[in-house]
């Protein structure tokens, strides 16, 4: 077996080991890489910046703990930006394993910015069958959520007085790791014409660019890169920015493996032809 054939038959565990080392090195020796901001992320930032204190933004935290690495920094940065600007938040968590995680984030940032539940934000929590919930909230938030996550009736919350449905919120931002985003686009934007932006995992990002091009969503944050761009713009947190150096080294290693694999493939094919 010559060199190229060995290259083609390389045990995948060597690939895992090298990628692992490429990830560990920047963790132990942190360095920063430049983050370039794209228009689709800036559109979200600008829209939130244009809100006045007291305006309401609906933030849908629709992901499970396993997607935290990619999308949690987005939710954190947006929430921090809103609290810093005194923009009020209505928050839902329509992914079944996410409500506890979302509550943890809300209480942590609520304490940091001295924001009170029912006055500065309203956490609705979880209700099953997200499509029906999204449609129901379009009529009245009280249909799927008569009470907030803590069991307090929405009518008794000061910030919810006079707030009926999506007509009373300026923007809807959905941070998601699953197909709930489709339902926000189809039902939220399609049925109720909400001004919608999304933050999704890397795997999902390519699927949602057509909706950006068609104007059905006005902004898109894709994976950790999108999160890091948002952190650069909002100056709220730097976890995603720090992780971009790890991405860079790992991507370089993967590109080298792809190049080496292709060289091995073409050289062994050439040899067979001879």
């Amino acid at each position: 077996m010559d060199f190229y054939e060995r290259l083609m038959n390389l045990d995948r565990r060597w690939v895992y080991l090298v990628v692992g080392i490429a990830v560990i090195i920047p963790v132990l020796n942190p360095f920063r890489v430049p983050v370039f901001v794209t228009q689709e992320v800036k559109a979200i930032y600008d829209s939130i910046e244009s809100l006045e204190p007291g305006d309401i933004l609906f933030l849908a935290i629709d992901y499970d703990p396993q997607a935290m690495a990619e999308v949690h920094p987005m939710a954190r940065a947006i929430m921090r930006q809103c609290f810093a600007k005194d923009v009020k938040l209505i928050i839902s968590a329509l992914s079944q394993n996410g409500p506890g995680m979302a509550e943890q984030l809300i209480s942590e940032l609520g304490k940091e910015f001295d924001k009170k539940s029912g006055i500065d934000y309203c956490y609705l929590g979880y209700k099953p069958y997200f499509a029906i919930v999204i449609l129901g909230m379009g009529q009245n938030f009280r249909i799927p959520f008569p009470t907030d996550y803590y069991g307090v009736p929405l009518d008794s919350l000061p910030m919810m007085r006079g707030v009926r449905n999506y007509d009373d919120v300026k923007l809807v931002i959905d941070i998601s790791s699953g197909n709930i985003t489709d339902y926000w686009i189809i039902y939220g934007n399609g049925r109720y014409n909400v001004k919608l932006a999304i933050g999704v995992t890397g795997v999902m990002t390519a699927n949602y660019y057509p909706y950006l091009a068609s104007g059905q969503i006005f902004g898109l944050m894709g994976g950790l890169k999108g999160a890091s761009e948002y952190e650069v713009l909002s100056k709220q947190g730097d976890r995603a920015i720090k992780m971009m150096s790890i991405q860079t080294t790992a991507h370089i290693v993967i590109i080298l493996f792809i190049v080496a694999g292709n060289i091995g493939y073409f050289m062994s094919r050439k040899k067979k032809k001879k």
Binding site: V19, I24, A69
Partner: protein
Amino acid sequence: MDLGTIIWNTVALFLTFCIFSFLYKDNPFYKFAEHLVVGVSAGYFAIILYFNGFIPKVWEPVTKRGEWWYILPAILGIMTWTRFSKKWSFISRFSIAFYMGIAVGVAIPLEMQQRVIKQLHATMLPVHFMNIQGLWNLLIVLGVLCGLVYFFFSVEHKGAVGGAARLGIWILMIGFGAGFGLTVMGRISLLADRIQFMREWYLMLAQFVSGG
């Protein structure tokens, strides 16, 4: 830093190593962690569903507010469970038909509007060669047409049709490449997060041991 946090984070670290051990080969540690995740997720979901679905949507309306009609959808739900019996499984069809009827009625007009008509509208763009935007529009229109031609099998892919189909497959490949690149980014993010977690665990432990 309290001892409880250290212990729970150490359990999380152990489970992370259990899952990573699969990279070498399948083993009982990996299986243990995998089954634990499935079990905990199912248990957590069942409880969440009970307290956010059954209690506020069935139990409280019926028992506290006397709104007895809420029991009707609950009966439809119970009917779906008859699928486990060969003799009575036909009963489940009524509730499934009811659900399907509503879901299809709600979904079809909006799905058509959002996924087909608005997307089609977004490809009807002014094409010209006078500026960059016109050229980008041309690329979108060509990409959509050639991609569709590739999936048009009623005509043999020869001549002009073959050329368009070939361009179509190139465009599809570029799309798949972008998807693959973003997938790699996503997977590396998850790995990087776990490595960061290990580092934070080590710093936390060092701080605890040094009494900080």
